[in-house]
Each structure stands twice: as structure tokens, then as C-alpha cells.
Symmetry: D2
Subunit: 345 residues, 4 copies
């Protein structure tokens, strides 16, 4: 039996759509999933573009993709956690259970993490083989399109909810797909004022629709001055950093309030210059580096939020294409004029 799959076939840009056998031998702890919906991550774009990071990490041929929802159609001999027919998604970090971090339950910083769709075959395909322990079971009444974006939603939840934001002022720095989820989460949990920072007009509009009270465009305004103005000169209680942009990050250290908190998810290629004395020490702030999702605590929060029906997932997913039109999806992602892009196999 064959299936369609999107693979990185060679050490070069782009992907290939191929026919390949449906995985039919399952390990005792593996599960075969029929993919219902899958979404494009920034990581997939890196692999597509074949950038420096990809060249060092990816070993073609590889089935790409790691965000999905799907139906369990076959289970390995030891699998008890999920049943045939369950609608599932997957945590994409496969952890070792052996290192110091795993042994103390901090799976998200496992030293030996493998990533689905990066180190093992992924889900841009009609079927995908997954380790049972990575699966979470979804409410089958929810649109698979929305269920497919829960993994990146987990990044946003981890970033937004590490510090308490209910009733607080929050700056969401960078409104790409995950940042805009961050805006929406801040709205849902009752932040008192949500200040988004974004340069792209499409995303500025979306951030407003998703709950930003103010959106500041650093290309047009002095971000630090505006944030202070919006906060009676005090700065924001919490910064959630999704941009990975050097200037944006450095500015955030200036407008975070004394005693404030910073959750850092965005990945910057550049070193960040910090006036540690004035902006960290004397302010008495706390900074937290966000790695993936807290297993599986963050997933419980994600599933709970999705079930609560309060997130505007219909606005966060801006485009849907057939999986065969992945090139179109990649184009939209690379244009910056999108939220999450979903592909249907």
C-alpha cells in the first residue's frame, strides 16, 4: 500500500512529493496515524529553504513535518494509551528518559532530544508512524485543522503562562504565527492591556483582531517611548518575546517594568547586548528561556484551552491547502502575510 508524502529528497532547496509505502511494521510502542491535517512550522520553512541549520542537521531522504492531527489506525503490541479510532496529535520532542533532566521530569530540556520531522520521518504524508508515548488524545468534535496547530500553540502557551498575566500589562514582541497565538492567549486569560510589537501590516491587523489593545510598529514609532506612554511610564509587567529580532529584544529590556518578567522564545542569530546593571540587576526582573513545551503539563493546558472554545483558532489559521500544494503554502509562509498555514493530505 502506498501513500503520498512530502520529502526532502536531496541536499538542496525545496521538497518532493512522492509515493512511498505506508509504514506497516510497527514497533511494540509505535502507532500508525492517518494524518487528517498538518501545519507548516517555521522549522519546515528552514528545511524547505535548505538553510545553514538544515544543512547541518537534516539527512535526506526525510519525510518532513511535525504538526498534525490524525486518526489512530493501527497500534503496536504494547500500546495501551491510545486506541484505534482516537484522534491524536503529537509532542514532537522524542526524549531519552535517561538523562539527568528526563530523570527529574524536565523532559523539555532532555539532552538527547530527537525531533519528529527533523531527526525522524514526519507527518507531511497521508500516514505517519509515531511513538505512542508522544501522543495526546484530542476531543474528536474539534475541527482537525485546529487540532493540527496545537504543538506550536503549546510553545505560545508555555511562553505566555510561565508567569502570571491575568490582570497584568503584557508586551507580545513579534506577531508571527506563534506570537499571534500569544496575543490571543493573553486576551483569553484576561491580561489587562496587550501591547503587540510587529512590523508586517497583515500581522498587525491580525494581532488587533486577536486581542491586542495596541500594536506598535517599530518601523514607524519609537517602541520604548510608546510602551512607556501606554503604561503610565512604568513599563509592562510581562514581556513575551517571539521575534528573535535583536533590536526588538534589546528594546524589551528597556520597557519591562521593575520587578517584571520576561519569557524568551524567539531565536536570534545575533548576540544581544544588555545593560545588565540597569535593566536586569537594578530592576530586579526575572528572565525565563522557553524550550518547547513542558511535557505534558503544557499539553494539558493547550487541550484545555482548545476545549474551552475561547481561542480564535479560525483567525489564527489563515490559509488551508491540499498537501500536494505545499509549495503554495511555503510561499505564503515566506511572504509573512499569514497566520498558520494548514495542509490537508
Amino acid at each position: 500500500m502506498e501513500m503520498m508524502a512530502v520529502i526532502k529528497a536531496a541536499r538542496e532547496p525545496g521538497v518532493k512529493i512522492v509515493k512511498k509505502p505506508i509504514p506497516d511494521v510497527l514497533g511494540p510502542n509505535e502507532v500508525l496515524v492517518k494524518v487528517l491535517a498538518t501545519s507548516i512550522c517555521g522549522t519546515d520553512v528552514h528545511i524547505y529553504k535548505w538553510d545553514k541549520w538544515s544543512q547541518g542537521r537534516i539527512k535526506p531522504p526525510l519525510t518532513v513535518g511535525h504538526e498534525f492531527s490524525g486518526e489512530v489506525i493501527k497500534i503496536g503490541s504494547h500500546v495501551k494509551k491510545v486506541n484505534i479510532g482516537d484522534i491524536v496529535s503529537a509532542e514532537t520532542h522524542i526524549v531519552c528518559h535517561e538523562c539527568e533532566f528526563c530523570r527529574r521530569g524536565e523532559f523539555h530540556i532532555c539532552k538527547n532530544t530527537k525531533i519528529i520531522g527533523v531527526d525522524t520521518d514526519g507527518c507531511f504524508a497521508e500516514y505517519a508512524k509515531m511513538p505512542a508515548e508522544n501522543l495526546i488524545i484530542n476531543n474528536s468534535k474539534i475541527n482537525p485543522k485546529y487540532l493540527s496547530i496545537q504543538e506550536p500553540l503549546g510553545n505560545a502557551v508555555h511562553t505566555m503562562l510561565h508567569f502570571k498575566i491575568t490582570g497584568k500589562t503584557v508586551a507580545v514582541v513579534g506577531c508571527g504565527p506563534i506570537g499571534m497565538m500569544g496575543v490571543n492567549i493573553a486576551k483569553v486569560v484576561g491580561a489587562s492591556k496587550i501591547i503587540a510589537i510587529e512590523v508586517n501590516d497583515y500581522r498587525i491587523r491580525l494581532a488587533k483582531e486577536l486581542g491586542a489593545n495596541v500594536v506598535i510598529n517599530p518601523l514607524k514609532e519609537d517602541v520604548i517611548a510608546r510602551v512607556l506612554e501606554e503604561t503610565d511610564g512604568m513599563g509592562v509587567d510581562v514581556v513575551a518575546e517571539f521575534s528573535g529580532n535583536k533590536q526588538a529584544i534589546e528594546a524589551a529590556f528597556k520597557y519591562v517594568k521593575a520587578g517584571g518578567k520576561m519569557s524568551m522564545l524567539g531565536i536570534s542569530p545575533d548576540d544581544i547586548d544588555i545593560d545588565l546593571s540597569n535593566d536586569v540587576v537594578f530592576k530586579g526582573i526575572t528572565i525565563y528561556g522557553v524550550v518547547g513545551r513542558i511535557l505534558f503539563e503544557t499539553w494539558h493546558q493547550v487541550v484545555g484551552l482548545v476545549e474551552s472554545g475561547k481561542l480564535d483558532l479560525d483567525k489564527i489559521v489563515t490559509h488551508t491547502f491540499p498537501l500536494s500544494e505545499i509549495d503554495k503554502g511555503m510561499e505564503v509562509m515566506m511572504s509573512g502575510n499569514s497566520g498558520k498555514v494548514v495542509l490537508i493530505p
Copy 2:
């Protein structure tokens, strides 16, 4: 200049509506407020009924009441925090700033707390004198009726947000005015399932409108069995206890999940019998006693939530009367068929 005021005139049930002079001598740190709206607390009902607690604590004559919103019309010589014209509410605990707890910033457990409307003249009057340091400044665009209930809302916020509930299952035990606020807060911050426990039909209906996914009536159902059924046999992640009812509290220890959390606000006249070994130690749970509001952290959350416009304050305030009809308000409160009851001077 005279004003109308509701006072406990004598050591007996009921209150008296009297004319008394508008306070005109302000201490350097005091403020005179024209009361716009005031609401009835359970404590006011105790004083009204002249129950045992009141007999031991209240020294008539006393102007009753402590929940309000009002306009600042005069300020003492040292007051800089608020200005004439500001719309304010008050933290009702006057703290000593001297005890160990105040000195370490834990004002809510101050050893020498005095309470407005209990130990000093309160706000069931046209005008009230308040310590400036207890005031918080409101957004003047919000209906004073809603602003008046922020103090008890603070109790609910403190109870609900001490532990993380976003994406978690929560049991709200007791849906009197503060408990129903708790239900509404849990909805706003995205609890995944809100299970309310309540016996009164009026409040059962209201709890549903305010966001409870399930309301269990212990008079009709086995609470423990039902909560377990609603949570796949696991119990709830978080219990928020507002009832002060012995049976309800003891049941909660049975249906809280292992590793779960309990926030206790309700005051029970009875001792509580706990199987500490099985229900606390072996379950590894955490229990937190809620005293008032965290000064002024909780108030920032309250003001933020109220400004976010996400709470259903219009449903929580079920009755409004002129202050002169306070007896009617008390009657409604005592009937149990109400949310918050607001009085307009």
C-alpha cells in the same frame, strides 16, 4: 451639612437609617468620598442579624458597609496618591505597617488589621471618610455599580488565581456571591472544565450562566461520584472552596486529584475531619488558606480583569436598591436567591 447613613445603633438586630454630619475634619492622610454605589457583604448580613460574632466585635453606634465606589471630594493635607474627582474603591483592611507580616510585605495577614465598616465607620452612607492608602483609583468609564463589588471580587480572584487554573479542571464549591464570581473568573481565564457545587436553584442557574460546565447539587446527587465521573475518575486539578460547609469541604478532599491544589476561602463554624494520610499525604496535594486580598497585587489583577471587560458583572449584580431600602436588600441576601446586591445612596 448632613448626610444619610445606615448605622448599627444599638446592640440588637437590624440597622437604622439616620441623618448625621458629613465628616468634615480630615486627618492628613484621609480622604472624603461621595459614595456612588455600595454593595452588601456577608459580613454586613452578620452585623444586621446581630449574630454571635457581631456581638463580640461590633461597638455601636457604627456606620456599616465596606464595599463601594465613590468620588473623591476632599483630601487631607498629605495626600498625593489620589486627587479630587478620582473615582475610587477601597481595600477594607487597614494594616499596621509595623508587625512582622507588614514588614515583609504580607499585609493581608497583618496581626493588627482593622476593618472598615466593622472596626471603623463604613460606607453605607452618602459620604465616607477613608484612609488614602487604602484607595485604588478606578477607570471612571465603568459603571459605579460594578466598581463597588471589586473588594469581594478580590477575594474571588485571590482564591481562583493563587494556583494556575488555565486549561485545568476546577471545582468551585459554593456559589454564593463570591463563589459565583469564582466560576466567572475560571471561565475568563480558560479553565478547561468548571464544576460548580451548589444547592440553591437560583444560584445553580446563575452559576451555569456565568460559565460552569457542570453544576452538582449535593442534595440530589453524590458529589464525589459525580466529580469523579466528570473527570475520568481522576478528580479535579484545583478546588476553590467558598462554601464553609463541613460536608462540602470534607467531600472536596475526596475528589481533588493527586498532586492537586485546594484554595480555601469559606469559613466553617465546624471542625473539619480529614483523612490526612490518604487525602493529603499520599495524594501529595497543596492546600492554601485565603485571607482577604494580597495587597495590592490582587487589586491590580481585579482592576485589570474589570477593565478587560470579560467578566459578566451585569449577571453577578442581580439586585439594585436605593440605600434607604437596605432592609429589602438584606432580605434578598438572606433569601439566598441573589448574586451581589448593590445599594445606591
Copy 3:
């Protein structure tokens, strides 16, 4: 090849010393350990006495015992974590890795925990087969006698260090072997005043040697009055409860300071009656149920503390017998006149 082992041979009190084959077939994730030292836990005493709990849980024949240090002499085919020659001890909770709690890293409250020496053959033997994942590697320079008591030391560490106690007043309730470890830990980490509560003269003396500033004997003194006297009428910042005694636990709720913390490890057969309103709610305290050890966070703390050389392990281990004289060891344990009792195979 045969070895000596202490087994519960039949559904009756006592144990039997037998010869049985050294386990020679190892699963891929199992390890064979030559036991160097093993110590007697309260649980072992229950099994020895064949009390009600044992009758419901233990299925003879079973090799008893779970606290030990030993040398790895053979490893299963998949074992990479430990090497032959390593000196190891074991976490005694075998967890499932599948339940909600394990999946979120809270292994200590695993729903499906099995316990070594209770549900599987234990270490009161010359050799013992252990799951590799449960092992921790010890510093081989430390006396095996002291290494064998690290598992209960972990209970004490978990109880004492859950809340911050450096520079705080602490009550240690009950100075059996684990409670006296608690006293010693409080001393090591710089509690400002350590108040121990104990009735047994032998243990009172030992508690003093291990660092208690004050030991109160409830048979001779009014505990609540004395604790208040020793704390300027304020009560203690932190209670660490090891006694499982109804009266002792109920008293602790009276003398814990407002805003204080209670760590509960002791197991009481009786329900505890609490004036929840006055002693929990109005005081604003936090109560934590202690289950086993936080995997493996607590173990890192234990190993770190043992390596730091600051604990008085030589005083905590009061008796050492050959394993063959286990009856003597049990007798000493049951007399109450002991700290930890170690057995050498």
C-alpha cells in the same frame, strides 16, 4: 549459586532466613547488585509484624527490604546508565511512565507505583535484582552503611526542603529515624531555631545531638504553650510533621505562624480534626502532602548533602547487625530506642 535472603515465607508474623538462588537471568534493563548494607524501614517492621496493611498488600514468598547500597556486578543488555563496579542505591518506587502524573514528570505520585521489597523482591539478601532506571550512583568513598539510608533520608529532605527553612523557625514533629534526619537537615541548612517534639527519651537525646535547639515532650509539657513561648508568641514558620500522631498533628495547626507552612509526611491511622477557619483560612497558611521523593530531584539533593559531609550520619545510624540477626534489628526498631538500624549481609 545460592545466597542468603530474608523472606516473608508465609502469611504470619516474622521473617525467615533462607538460601535461594542468586538471580541470574536479567531483563535488558535490569542490574544485579551485591548488597553491601541495607537498613530497616518502618515499612519492613509492618511487614515483619504482619499488620493489617501487610496482610492486604504482601504476597509471600517475598524477599523483604528496600533501603540499601550495593555494588553492581552484572548488567542487562540495554543498561548504559550504570557500570559494573559502581556503588549504587535505589529509588524504591518503580513508576509506570504512562499515567498522567508520570507524563508530566511528577513520578512521585505515579498512579501505578510498585514498591521494591513490597511488590517485588527486595534487598534483605546478599544479592538483589534491580531496575536500572531506579539506581543512583554513589560516591564510592563513602561508607556503604551511610549510603544505605539515603532513601529514607530522601523522605526527610523532601519534607524539610519543600519550603524554605534557612533562617526560619522550624518545628520537627516526631523524631523517629526520619524525623531525626529532619532535625539534622534543618541544622545543616541553617534554620534559626529547631524545635523538636518527641516523647521517647532516647530519641529526645538524639534529637538534641543532631541539632534541635529545644525538644518538647508532650507527655510532660503543654506543646502549644511551649512552642509559642519559644517563638515570642508568634508560632513557628514551618512545621515538618513526621509523627503521624493525631494529637501532635492537631497541635501543630495551633502553633504554626500566620503565613506559615506545613509539610506533612507522617501517616496517621486516625482522622484529623481541624478548625479550618481559624487555623488554615484566617492564618493564610500553606500545607503540603509529602509523597516519597521527587524523582530524581530529591536524590540529587540527598547525594549532594551526603557528599557535603555535613550530616551527622554516624549519629543517625545507631545500630548495625549482621543481616542474619535481623530479628535483633527488628526488636531494636520496635523498642523505639534507635535511629536507623543497618544490616550487613
Copy 4:
């Protein structure tokens, strides 16, 4: 009545020893203290040298100094907290009680902090006037010399105990007077391995005596490589940064373990360049800026630790001079070859 005092008399380096009147008019909340011992802070050295910071902040004439112990000899009319004869020290931050931070109990980041000996007359004198609310009462049995250094000890305690270090590996970066206190605190609370980083030979020796297991001299060794070597390649659990040295701080970001914690107290004149992606985000670490002492939580810990007798205060205080020989004290401080330098009026 006159007293000796050390004052900054003019806008120039050095200090002057003068006779001036003993303060005899006390405000209602003030206290007159006979100074028993006072110690030299780095801030005092800045003022002595008349560096750029001093030139912008100090308004001569000013009595310098803020670390002391003394006897209360006169109290203002409203003072109840302390009595004549009490041996006291002072928190040196005079806070406003009005700003957002004070109102929520985070006095240490008060927006309007004034500092004793910087903004108001200090304690390098025979007598000093102090705000009663800033005083803490000491155990009068302890040597005043040691009591005088409790304020900087509070900085060290705040830095070392913000994160849990018992049983953890800790790097103490910079072993000036406060850093060496940090080393000693880590020893007292049972850190498993204390790695100190220091360049000065005198301080290297002292760090070892105070409990460092390893001292690395960055002038002679590759700090990052050595720390990794000492920690099985994992890095340290906790970094406590006291140096304010750019290279030292940047190195610390490299050798902190994944999931690790950094407490930052040292003040660097330079911007710090951080590879935020690899060293903060992907590592999932937490960074905390340390401002002064948590009022008065840190002081309770300090007093508790000092009373416990476990700190090596006799080694931390390396020099004692009469107050009149302050120039000698300053010289020793500036040489780097000292711990704390105490002056006796």
C-alpha cells in the same frame, strides 16, 4: 554635646573627620543610636574616591556610612518597635510606602528609595539618627563587629537563597566581601559543590577557607573548561554573580547547566553580550536580578543565619580599625586584599 563623624565635606576625593553635634531632635518615628561598629561598603569606597557616580549623587556635607550595629539610646514619641538599650542594625533603603511596588510589598524595588549614608546622613559617626521602621533588633550576645556586616550579608543571602542550592552545584563569581559571604552561605546550606571564580590571591585563599571546593583563577585557567570539567560536562546548577566583570558574566552564561538558574548582583559598567538563543532560550534557564534585600524577609534569614552560629564571620571580617583611622580602612579595601573591614567609633 558633640561627637566624632566622618563626612564628605567637599566635592573632592577623601573624607574628613570632624566634630559635630549629636543629633538631638528626633522626629516622632526616629531613633538615636550609639554606633558600636560600622563597616565599609563598596559604595563608601566610591564616595571616598569621588568617582563619577558619587559626583552625580552625593551632596556634601554628608556623614558617610550605612552598615552598622548600635545601641538605641533615645526614641521618638511614636516609636514602639524598639526600646532603649536594644542592639540594632538598619536596612539602608528608606522606602516610600506609596509607589506601586511598596503597595504590593515589593519594597526592595521601591521607585523612590533613599539610601542611608548616600541620600541622608549615615553611620560613620559616634551617633546616628535612624528611621525606626528601618531597624532590626539583634541578639545582644553577638559581637557588634559581626552584627555590623549584616546589611551586605543580606545582599549575599538574597543572591544565594533566591534559588534552591542545597545539594546543588554552585558557581560563585567574584569573591570580594559579598561574594565571599556567598561562598560561606553556600557551604552553610549544603551546596554539593562550590566553585568560586576569583583573580586575587588573598581572596582565593579566603574563598577556600570559607568553603569553596574549587577556586578557579580566570587569569590562569580557562574558566568555562574548568567548570565543565568539575561538573561532568554538565555545567553548574546555579550561578551567583557578584563580580560585575564583563568577561566573567559572559563566561557564566556558557557554563550554567540547562534548566539552571542565575542570580545577578554584580554591577558591570559594560554592556553584556549574550548568545540569547543558545545560552538562555535553548537552555531554558532562569535569570534573576538581585536588588538589595527583600524587606524584611531577607533580614529574617540573615538574623537567623547569624544566630545559628554557622557562618564564619570571624574569617569574613579580616580587618578592624578605629573609626578615626578610616583612611587605613579605605586603603585596605582598595587593595583588594581584604574581606569586610570594620571600624569602631
